[in-house]
């Protein structure tokens, strides 16, 4: 499976990508929603996108809306990665088409649990 990690913090991109790699994903990274859309437009196919909320250029919600407007990307699973303070806004992202969310700070197990719930991990690998 392929995962796209979208975050303006390269620290967070690296951490999330490391977790996903450890779970067996091939990962790519983008530093904002616009860069991520460019990758998708270029034909890169992903099973999962982990999306930060607060980013310059194009934020996470705008990215979710843009992805859900395109039928060819309807199978892309979207997980918001946000801080606790954005919990209320996550509702907007879920309404726009995101599938799940994890709150920062989170542990690798917390992310793996979300992926397992979404059927993106074999259940025997879930914590």
């Amino acid at each position: 499976m392929r995962a796209l990690v979208i975050d303006d913090s390269r620290t967070m991109r690296r951490i999330v990508a490391d977790i996903l790699s450890g779970l067996g994903f091939d990962t790519s990274q983008a530093s904002n929603g616009r860069e991520a859309l460019d990758l998708l437009d270029a034909g890169d196919a992903f099973d999962l996108a982990c999306i930060d909320w607060n980013m310059p250029v194009m934020d996470g919600l705008e990215f979710v809306v843009a992805v859900r407007a395109r039928r060819e990307w309807r199978d892309l699973t979207l997980i918001m990665v946000t801080t606790e303070g954005e919990r209320g806004q996550v509702v907007r992202a879920l309404a726009a088409g995101a599938h799940e969310y994890v709150m920062k700070p989170f542990t690798p197990d917390a992310l793996a649990s979300k992926l397992a719930l979404l059927g993106l991990l074999p259940f025997e690998e879930s914590p």
């Binding site: 913090s9 620290t11 310059p56 801080t83 303070g85 920062k104 989170f106």
Partner: protein
């Protein structure tokens, strides 16, 4: 001294402790309240996020260069001899400030916006800023988390 939404220093310390336990150390117990006397950080690096409270408020993290390097090394699970790039330090400290601010924001009764994190060796505090300091100790090293109106 004031803190947005009457958030007290104890709540800020708890947030910082939880953030470090989950993101930096991957286990609890390494970030505690500073147990020494008066705390002075030499040549501090600042990372901060502003909140659109009324009046505006700021969550600020500051520490010395050596501690910033070690926090970054832990955050990125880097080896002991692997060099830490300055850009990685700035990014890591900014992200920690971002997560701290996001969790402070969650305690506020009203919806507020957060700026993207900024990091600088120059203090962002300005005349009129009233920041409350929470003195913390991470693996014996000083870290100050400040919150207040600007």
């Amino acid at each position: 001294m004031s803190m947005p939404g009457a958030i007290d220093a104890g709540q800020v310390a708890i947030i910082a402790t939880e953030v470090f336990a989950a993101m930096i150390d991957r286990e609890a117990g390494f970030l505690t309240t500073w147990s020494g006397g008066p705390l002075t950080v030499a040549d501090p690096l600042y990372a901060w996020v502003d909140l659109s409270t009324v009046p505006a408020s700021r969550l600020q993290l500051s520490t010395d260069a050596g501690t910033a390097d070690e926090v970054t090394r832990a955050f990125l699970t880097m080896g002991r001899v692997e060099p830490v790039a300055e850009a990685d330090v700035a990014d890591a400290l900014g992200e920690i400030a971002n997560v701290l601010a996001g969790n402070v924001k969650a305690l506020l009764p009203e919806h507020v916006e957060m700026t993207l994190p900024k990091v600088s060796w120059q203090s962002p505090s300005r005349d009129g800023a009233r920041l409350n300091e929470v003195l913390l100790e991470w693996r014996g090293r000083p870290i100050i988390v400040s919150l207040g109106t600007i």
